[in-house]
């Protein structure tokens, strides 16, 4: 973790705060789902915390993201209120989407989370459109498209990179390469040695970074965001990482290489970064413990809020289909 210009202490701790929020949120989710208090499909992002945390500190609420079913880390890092996230997953009216979207479709424009898609490969074309609007209007906003390694084998990925390149759109493509698409290992499905190599086909910068190294991720993301913001066009970032909980809650992991997951978990980015922050004197044990406690309390309040919120009225089936209700 020896990078040239170290970000400020505030930023360093802010990255940790976001990572911790994601990690704790995940742990609570698994507990609540296991306890049967919430029934919902859950694609855990545990292990991938550093990527959006280190990236989002260089974004504002004015910047946009499009993410995927696994993107709870992306949403939380971008600032979706924890209680609204929980309420949505619980299918309650107080959720981000009034309980009508669910975990795979969290939307929260106030924090810039514009689309969450359950379709592999579909975050990129829409991020382009968000970026296009900013470009046409002369706004300095940036759009980030998050997606997985498997998604880079979808046609829309290639269409999107090409279009963003020829139009120099202010967009950053962030591929979170966790080594698997569902149960299929990267090498079995993907011809490129590195996903970032694919950027060459579109004549845009492509860079592979250790997505579990917050500082490396911070620098790479910052550069790509600045490039986009200054009108120089898109960047493809491949952030290498690993998912600790398999593809979806209940995944048996039988398809993984022996020892692979254990080894990755031993290198858990969250405690590693915590240790580093303290060792380097950027934070104290006490200050981080306090921060963790506050996050824990926030999540507890969110769970309580979600579970005590009302479920939607059946009349919601007619609302938000079109601008005006259509009888059928």
């Amino acid at each position: 973790m020896n990078q040239p210009a170290l970000p400020s202490r505030e930023i360093l701790v802010d990255i940790y705060r976001r990572m911790t929020l994601i990690k704790q949120n995940d742990e609570r989710f698994l507990a609540v789902i296991k306890a049967g208090q919430i029934v919902a499909p859950y694609y855990s992002p545990r292990g991938q915390e550093a990527i959006p945390s280190a990236l989002s500190v260089s974004l504002t609420d004015q910047d946009y993201i499009c993410t995927i079913y696994r993107g709870f880390h992306d949403m939380l890092a971008k600032g979706v209120p924890v209680r609204m996230l929980w309420a949505e997953v619980a299918g309650r009216t107080t959720g981000t989407c009034k309980g009508k979207g669910g975990p795979m479709h969290i939307t929260h424009p106030q924090s810039g989370v514009m689309v969450t898609t359950g379709i592999v490969g579909s975050s990129m074309p829409i991020a382009n459109g968000l970026a296009l609007a900013a470009q046409i209007r002369g706004e300095k906003r940036v759009a980030v498209a998050y997606f997985g390694d498997g998604a880079s084998n979808i046609g829309a990925f290639h269409e999107s990179l090409n279009m963003a390149a020829v139009w120099k759109l202010p967009v950053v493509f962030v591929c979170q390469n966790n080594g698997y698409g569902e149960h299929t290992r990267y090498e079995i499905a993907t011809s490129a040695a590195r996903i970032s190599d694919r950027a060459a086909g579109y004549q845009i910068p492509g860079i592979t970074v250790d997505g579990n190294d917050p500082l490396a991720m911070y620098h790479v993301a910052r550069q790509a965001i600045e490039r986009a913001r200054s009108g120089e066009g898109p960047t493809l970032i491949e952030a290498k990482t690993f998912r600790f909980q398999g593809h979806v809650f209940g995944d048996a992991d039988s398809y993984m290489l022996k020892g692979e997951k254990e080894a990755a978990m031993a290198r858990d980015p969250v405690p590693a970064y915590r240790k580093w922050l303290i060792e380097q004197g950027h934070a104290t044990e006490a200050s981080l413990a306090k921060l963790e406690e506050a996050i824990n309390a926030e999540i507890s309040a969110a769970v309580e809020f979600a579970l005590s919120s009302p479920v939607p009225d059946i009349s919601e089936l007619r609302r938000d289909v079109f601008a005006q209700e259509v009888l059928s």
């Binding site: 009508k100 579909s122 074309p125 970026a131 269409e159 090409n162 938000d320 289909v321």
Partner: protein
């Protein structure tokens, strides 16, 4: 009166009518942008020239020729629409919507609902289709039923230049995604001028020809054939009421039911294949509401259950011919 308005006072064809509507929309709202293959003037203003002159007038930032990337085109339109623009995306031919189906069906149509109304996608997808040019099985399908079966997207199919103008304006300024189907073989047919700047409301059928004996429901190209058949039968004393749906979804069943309650006979005509088509939905609705009042089973006329064929003799017979429409009406009147 500006130049565009002056032009609208004389007859025009659908290419000119859509061009005028796009021009009017772009002139009045800077959020209207156009995306599509070959649409800018440097690329000749579209393959039949619908967008001719617009990039010269409004610039290539707003009138963008795109890569041949249907998913990226619709995706870009969706993203821009979510943050307040009103993109008009052209998918050159309706069969090519198949390539962008995920963007249209899973995203454009559903984001309003899935976001709990926080976002919406006011895009218009222009596309053209229709048999008659010998283009065979992948360039002439009517696929409106695919989209009408999807909650959240409006499906609009004008039958005349003036309707194309008014409905196009309505689609662009509608807050929902709209699929706008232009019939290719009749593009060059002239028709009366539209009223400048006037939008035709979506979701409302047009009673094109009043009558009392039988209701004929149609949209897009086949409307003209239905009117012609109605005229022919009027000489035998048959009074046929012709309804042009204009908007396929949301479907204006009220107007259809009102008409059929009066005539007690109905025939639905469309160029799309008959099986599993829009006609089936309308017929089922009529049965649900007017069973017992009908004097004859509801008739349907559509294309054969076959890909669009090439050989002229097959292509001509594939679509609902005036003879088949007439036969269906006569069967209902028996």
């Amino acid at each position: 009166m500006n130049a565009a308005q002056a032009q609208t006072s004389k007859p025009l064809n659908t290419i000119q009518a859509v061009n005028l509507a796009l021009d009017e929309a772009m002139r009045t709202d800077p959020n209207v942008i156009l995306l599509g293959e070959d649409i800018a003037d440097e690329q000749a203003g579209g393959i039949v020239g619908v967008t001719k002159g617009l990039s010269q007038k409004y610039g290539t930032s707003r009138v963008r020729s795109t890569p041949i990337s249907e998913q990226a085109i619709i995706g870009a339109a969706i993203g821009a629409a979510i943050v307040g623009m009103r993109p008009v995306a052209e998918i050159m031919l309706m069969n090519f919507t198949a390539v962008a189906m995920d963007m249209i069906v899973n995203h454009a149509a559903k984001l309003r609902f899935m976001s709990g109304g926080q976002t919406h996608v006011p895009i218009t997808i222009r596309t053209m289709t229709g048999a008659g040019f010998g283009t065979g099985g992948q360039h002439a399908d009517y696929l409106e039923a695919w989209f009408a079966h999807t909650p959240g997207i409006k499906v609009v199919a004008p039958s005349s230049p003036a309707d194309a103008y008014g409905l196009m304006l309505a689609c662009i300024f509608d807050d929902d995604p709209c699929l706008f189907i232009e019939n290719m073989p009749t593009y060059w047919n002239p028709g009366p001028a539209p009223q400048p700047g006037v939008r035709i409301p979506l979701g409302r059928a047009n009673v094109l020809r009043p009558g009392t004996d039988v209701t004929v429901v149609s949209y897009s190209r086949t409307v003209a054939d239905c009117v012609a058949v109605a005229e022919k039968l009027s000489k035998e004393g048959v009074s046929a009421e012709v309804l042009d749906l204009r908007t396929i979804s949301p479907l204006d069943m009220d107007t259809v039911l009102q008409s059929v309650a009066k005539t007690r006979r109905a025939v639905i005509v469309h160029e799309a294949v008959k099986a599993f088509g829009v006609g089936a939905e309308i017929a089922a609705n009529i049965n649900e509401h007017l069973f017992g009042q009908l004097k004859a089973p509801v008739g349907r006329v559509g294309a054969y259950f076959s890909p669009v064929p090439f050989a002229k003799v097959l292509e001509t017979e594939f679509v609902p011919t005036p003879a088949r429409i007439e036969a269906a009406l006569r069967a209902t009147l028996k």
